[in-house]
């Protein structure tokens, strides 16, 4: 009798528990590779396989932008004050006149890049929707940005922040994000022509992004930078954010000790004896 009861329990465990385990495995397939850990061929293939899937234009969730959009290189004319700040970012040079690329760029010592620099200098991000906000998780820097969608307005006199303050709302099938309240220490971008200069901004900086999902794997986006204390016209950049299917955001911290190791072991010796005792920074990503 006792053996019968034990046998019955064993059968019940098998019937009830094992299917649940199987279901869990189906639901949770395990760790996915990060979008940047896929090879270029992997990404192209996955996008091709999913290109015709149905999509909801009002749903921006997912991992986007691994393809990286560069800021429009045609920067608008600068105001005198903006030009003076730009000139002051000029990289240090060796006694022989060799520019030490990016030497005054705070990013090189792992200062936060802030917004909107992270718009272009990012390794992809994930939009995660909550009832009152859209959260943007960025792989580079392992950081996030909150876009409030609860109807609030931008603050009148905010304490400056690296990522500023952001609110968003839908205008038809376009999600529009307004941001302000940025910390003046961040750059909009390094000058990618030769990396000797950086584009600065003032406390009057405002940004607007317009996101419109046009198919399963593509969001059309426009970024408009407005800063009348720095530029005489808005600075507009447009591009396509591509989705990275079958991935999860990876971890890319900017680690000061690793950056220091790179500077001392690679960059400074490569520049040569003239680099001894000079703040050389690093050369970027």
């Amino acid at each position: 009798m006792r053996h019968c009861i034990i046998g019955l329990i064993a059968v019940l465990v098998g019937v009830i528990v094992l299917p649940a385990v199987t279901t869990a495995q189906d639901l949770y397939p395990g760790w996915l590779t990060c979008p940047n850990c896929q090879t270029n061929d992997n990404r192209t293939e996955l996008r091709s396989e999913t290109a015709d899937l149905p999509f909801n234009p009002g749903d921006l969730t997912g991992i986007w932008g691994q393809n990286r959009i560069q800021l429009n290189r045609n920067a608008p004319p600068m105001t005198p004050d903006g030009q003076a700040r730009y000139d002051a970012t000029r990289a240090d040079e060796t006694a022989g006149g060799q520019a030490l690329s990016n030497s005054k760029d705070g990013m090189l010592i792992c200062d936060p890049m802030g917004w909107p620099r992270m718009f272009t200098y990012n390794y992809g991000f994930e939009f995660a929707e909550m009832p009152d906000r859209l959260v943007q998780f960025l792989e580079w820097g392992h950081t996030f940005r909150t876009i409030w969608t609860d109807g609030r307005e931008l603050p009148e006199d905010p304490d400056p922040r690296w990522m500023g303050y952001s609110v968003g709302q839908w205008e038809g099938d376009t999600f529009v994000v307004q941001s302000s309240g940025f910390d003046e220490r961040s750059w909009l971008t390094e000058n990618r022509q030769d990396r000797r200069f950086g584009y600065t901004h003032s406390d009057a900086l405002r940004t607007e992004e317009r996101y419109r999902r046009v198919d399963y794997n593509t969001i059309e986006v426009t970024l408009t930078i407005t800063d009348p204390k720095t530029f005489t016209q808005p600075w507009v950049t447009a591009g396509n954010l591509l989705r990275s299917p079958g991935t999860e955001i990876g971890e890319y911290f900017c680690v000061p000790s690793d950056s220091f190791d790179y500077i001392e072991q690679v960059l400074r010796p490569a520049i040569g004896p003239e680099a001894q005792g000079i703040d050389v920074g690093t050369s970027g990503n």
């Binding site: 896929q38 690329s101 792989e139 950056s259 790179y262 960059l267 010796p269």
Partner: protein, 132 residues
């Protein structure tokens, strides 16, 4: 004899500049630090693979005719960028022998941007365009 050696060296350098000059990279991210008009190829043995950001780098030993060993350093791009090119932290192990091709440092130090690595058995571990 010594003068002949100097002339031979000068001719070799000149030939390198003329022949390899056409391979100049369109990237200028490290302009000034690396001489993008030149390539140097050498045989060596891997001693360290630094899989770190902001840039990964490989160190290998090269032994010259007199038996002197010099450690060369070749940098590439970030870990995630290199993953996209199919590399990983397991790509290199100390002791691997092969041929290493770099864009050399302008300063003439034993360094460069690493663009190609072929092991002695013919396995190609790196074959890339210069990064930015």
């Amino acid at each position: 004899m010594r003068i002949q050696r100097v002339w031979a060296t000068a001719v070799l350098v000149l030939m390198s500049v003329v022949i390899l000059g056409g391979l100049a990279s369109a990237h200028h991210g490290r302009a000034g630090i690396y001489d993008t008009d030149r390539r140097i190829e050498m045989d060596g043995v891997v001693s360290e693979w630094r899989w770190r950001n902001p840039h990964t780098y490989l160190v290998w030993d090269v032994t010259d005719d007199q038996g002197k060993v010099v450690g060369w350093t070749g940098e590439m791009s970030s870990t995630t960028s290199m993953m996209s090119e199919g590399l990983s932290r397991r790509t290199f192990q100390a002791g691997q022998e092969g041929t290493f091709t770099i864009i050399p440092a302008t300063a003439g130090t034993p360094q460069g941007e690493l663009i190609k690595v072929v092991l002695t058995d013919g396995t190609v571990l790196v074959d890339r365009e210069p990064g930015d």
